[in-house]
């Protein structure tokens, strides 16, 4: 577990996919983790347009010494209860995702993992706990480029998916699963007893950060479902069913109104849709190699 020493506030400016983040924090321990996570990304210019002005502050003075706290702030607002200060990094990552979900209405935002190969995107929508992050992380070390473990950002110009390569929070068993499966995976410190259990973050692979400007054309939508010990079962999904499921699995489908309907319909029309139940990551990773129209790398 990390312990954070604190001093006067420091500024960080970094790019996360289409968003530029400016973070101001007096919590010193955040700096090495941010560097470790996002250093490979191109640094924004000093006068770059900032989409998200974030702060992770210390709690009130009386809480500085006994059970110190971390408070997340977005544009002078405090949307959440404080976290224990040694959980400042999970708080920052979670808070950033929340801000993107609230502010990213330029995009149709689906709750999904996204990977790319040959310029084509594979979208893995899923409910929390269905193994989406684990599957996305595993595929990122099997010949796919990691675009996001949380958001499929669909633009309005060409209907492309924009990468949002952020630290992927692996929860509980997933931490050891990914360590065993992908020894090259870089996993950060383990945070015990967060609101989502034990969490450790997978650092986005280097090429994911270096190529975070490169959008991809959606080609496949696969709804994964992890069931322990289950044999692989993968089948085509009708477009109407895929539409219904995706509309319920979006951060802003309702908010976008007619725009959301049209953009989702366009997305579904250009994709082959499947649903997959699996018990072993190896099985589903192999099956995805056989996706129609996928060219071997």
């Amino acid at each position: 577990m990390l312990s954070y020493s604190t001093s006067s506030a420091q500024n960080f400016l970094y790019r996360s996919g289409p968003f530029v983040v400016r973070l101001r924090t007096p919590i010193k321990g955040l700096q090495p983790l941010l560097r470790w996570c996002y250093d490979a990304a191109e640094e924004p210019a000093a006068d770059a347009y900032v989409h998200l002005n974030l702060r992770v502050d210390q709690g009130p003075l009386r809480r500085r010494f006994l059970k110190p706290q971390a408070v997340f702030r977005f544009e002078n607002r405090t949307p959440f209860e404080p976290y224990p200060q040694n959980h400042a990094f999970p708080l920052l990552e979670w808070g950033t995702n929340w801000c993107i979900a609230m502010r990213g209405h330029r995009f149709l935002m689906l709750h999904a993992g996204v990977l790319e190969r040959g310029g084509q995107a594979l979208i893995l929508p899923a409910m929390p706990g269905s193994g989406k992050t684990t599957l996305t992380a595993a595929l990122a070390y099997r010949g796919w480029r990691f675009l996001s473990d949380e958001f499929a950002l669909i633009d309005g110009d060409r209907g492309h998916v924009h990468p949002l390569p952020r630290a992927a929070p692996l929860k509980n068993n997933a931490i050891d699963v990914i360590r065993a499966l992908a020894p090259a995976a870089e996993i950060g410190p383990v945070f015990e007893k967060t609101r989502k259990g034990t969490v450790a973050h997978l650092r986005p692979p280097r090429d994911a950060l270096e190529r975070q400007h490169e959008t991809a054309a959606p080609a496949w939508i696969v709804f994964p479902r992890y069931i322990a010990g289950h044999d692989l079962r993968i089948g085509r999904l009708s477009r109407s069913m895929a539409f219904t499921r995706l509309s319920q699995n979006s951060f802003n489908y309702r908010i976008l109104g007619a725009t959301g309907f049209e953009r989702l319909a366009t997305l579904i029309r250009r994709c082959a849709c499947f649903s997959a139940e699996y018990g072993r990551l190896d099985d589903i990773a192999a099956a995805l190699e056989g996706l129609p129209g996928l060219h071997a790398p």
Partner: protein
């Protein structure tokens, strides 16, 4: 000076902003959650093309949430009308819903959380019974809150429908019954107008401004009310083109006992948002001004809590607290206020674990 206030007063200067200034402007805009309103205001002035792509994308994208809210409000209103079909009562829309259905420029990109309607006081019980019968529920079931609303307030305890969650405030007056001034609802009804092709009514333009002014400068805490000041700026900018409105406003303010709030509305809207008001109108309202000491206090306290906050400045907490006390002072007699604040404090204390 705040860049946001500069842009509201003189939108064309948006063309001169440096990248760093855009960053500051957008922080002010996001902090006040008025992205959609500012984007539409710039677009209405033909200035969309001079905005850099990044902030423009953001200003435009943030139109979607208020659009959804406005659509939900229209739906809620249809449900309310259906539920009240059997009740013989006129219905008048207030604030956001009125601006939206009257098609006023102030409604552009404006989100709102409650549906505010006005009914005559002797129809209040029938309206409440019909809404409860059609599935609406009381938001506050606590006995003290229920009694507080019914005895002292100008509205029923807030109602909401569990399936949709939108809060409906049914008013019979525009200021609390305990308030030091009591605008006569009969006068408001007499000047109101029916919306074209509808049985719903809205306040006259002068009364809309006076209601908004009373809400911000008499009944409310002022702090955090920038959206309300922007309403006043846009309503006034729209209405002052009409000679009848200009002539009627001061006289109507006197009739409704709302001269002082109107004075504050005009002067702060002018000072902060640069509202262009005819000299004659301002001169006519000068006699509503407070004495030198309260006037100085308001000029000192209000701008820091009402105007946009520079991203790197601390909130004006002390000024906000003084204005909060002022709003309660205007709302209730001192004895009643003491009883109310004691009840609230005791309840907060007993709610602590």
């Amino acid at each position: 000076m705040s860049l946001l206030l500069q842009i509201i007063a003189d939108p064309a200067t948006v063309a001169t902003l440096s990248p760093q200034q855009w960053n500051v402007l957008m922080q002010e805009v996001r902090g006040l959650r008025i992205d959609a309103r500012i984007g539409l205001l710039l677009e209405a002035q033909g200035l969309a093309g001079v905005c850099p792509a990044d902030p423009w994308h953001e200003l435009r994208a943030q139109r979607h949430p208020p659009q959804l809210v406005q659509a939900q409000m229209r739906l809620e209103l249809r449900k309310v009308l259906k539920a009240l079909a059997g009740v013989d009562t006129p219905l008048l829309l207030l604030k956001g819903a009125a601006y939206m259905l009257a098609g006023l420029p102030v409604a552009q990109g404006r989100a709102f959380t409650d549906l505010d309607i006005l009914v005559p006081r002797n129809r209040l019980e029938a309206v409440e019974a019909a809404l409860l019968g059609a599935g609406w529920r009381h938001q506050k079931s606590d006995d003290y809150d229920q009694r507080y609303y019914r005895r002292w307030m100008h509205e029923l305890p807030p109602l909401y429908h569990p399936e949709r969650g939108i809060v409906i405030d049914v008013h019979h007056s525009i200021l609390p019954l305990t308030s030091r001034v009591q605008p006569d609802p009969g006068l408001l009804w007499a000047d109101s107008a029916a919306l074209p092709g509808s049985t719903l009514r809205v306040l006259s333009p002068a009364d809309m401004v006076l209601h908004s002014a009373a809400h911000l400068f008499h009944d409310g805490e002022i702090s955090g009310g920038f959206g309300n000041l922007l309403d006043l700026h846009l309503l006034l900018t729209d209405f002052v083109r009409d000679a009848d409105f200009r002539a009627r406003l001061p006289e109507r303010a006197a009739q409704l006992q709302l001269g002082r709030p109107l004075y504050y509305a005009l002067s702060f809207s002018q000072d902060l948002c640069g509202t262009r008001l005819p000299d004659a109108l301002v001169a006519h309202c000068r006699h509503f001004a407070p004495g030198p000491v309260p006037g100085w206090l308001m000029r000192t306290l209000v701008p820091p809590v009402l105007g946009p906050r520079h991203p790197r400045h601390r909130p004006a907490a002390f000024a906000a607290w003084l204005l909060y006390l002022r709003s309660h002072w205007l709302r209730m007699r001192p004895g009643l206020l003491a009883v109310h604040l004691t009840r609230k404090a005791l309840r907060r204390a007993s709610a602590q674990p």
